[in-house]
Symmetry: C2
Subunit: 167 residues, 2 copies
């Protein structure tokens, strides 16, 4: 009977589906002239938070997609710990966000493209899996990496062109 899928299994979305939802959030950020990064939090195969970077509109350096998504998910689930949650984000989290994932006890982190300049989940530092800290998580990287990275590259290319126009 192993080959007969249960209704629950049929409903199971895959990691690419959730990363596409994060990418949709990143595109909202792009259109709002924010650094285009998006995130979703998934609990029991259901999205419980969707967020994008809002640093410019809120004039708040802490308003990264992951921080906003964690706050939303904790609110939705009425829990300060997100032990059974997966977080999907288009770009490798920075130190602040990786630290927040540890505090929230996120089970698995999925990210799209690496951030060689400030990534804190393996690139510059590894806060997601640090022996000194009291929580470590599974990290899956590279989901839709090309699309996630291209959005960032396009954003900064546009910024440079805009800046050149004003000089």
């Amino acid at each position: 009977m192993d080959d007969i899928k249960t209704p629950a299994a049929l409903l199971t979305h895959n990691d690419e589906y959730f990363m596409r939802e994060a990418l949709r959030q990143a595109k909202i950020a792009f259109d709002a002239d924010e650094v285009p990064i998006g995130a979703v939090v998934v609990h029991q195969n259901r999205i419980v938070a969707r967020a994008h970077n809002q640093v410019e509109v809120l004039k708040d350096p802490t308003a990264h997609a992951e921080i906003v998504a964690i706050t939303q998910a904790a609110n939705t689930l009425s829990s300060k710990w997100l032990n059974d949650c997966k977080l999907y984000v288009t770009i490798e989290p920075c130190s602040m966000c990786a630290g927040a994932l540890v505090l929230a006890r996120i089970k698995t982190l999925y990210f799209g493209a690496k951030d060689p300049k400030a990534g804190a989940c393996g690139s510059c530092l590894n806060i997601a899996n640090h022996t000194a800290l009291n929580h470590r998580m599974n990290v899956v990287e590279g989901i839709l990496a090309q699309e996630c990275g291209a959005l960032i590259s396009d954003f900064f290319k546009r910024k440079r062109i805009d800046q050149a126009k004003f000089n």
Copy 2:
């Protein structure tokens, strides 16, 4: 004329004064049954943000004193960067908060007691001054360290007693 103090100089508060304000915030957290950590942000000798840990009341793992204080200060100054600001916090910031200080470009961090378990400004990690990141800050530690640390110790002692009562 060097020995005559200007009114501005007379008004200049010292680091202990600002740390006492952070400690007042920590005591508010203590009374609210939150891990007692407080922070203030200072701009041009004026406090522009006061905050304490609100993880329990908000059920939000990101609601550390420093994060709330940075958001408040950025809002008060209408700026996502706090280049000319000093942040005073009773306990050494964790990875999330140290990462936020880097993103906010805080000029100088003053903290009271070290956090040997999760401190990310020299104890476990050093995110406040990491060669790979694009901002580094002055760090002054040990201001009212005994009082800041004692508040945390008393809090967890009370927690253990309360827990023992229910077992």
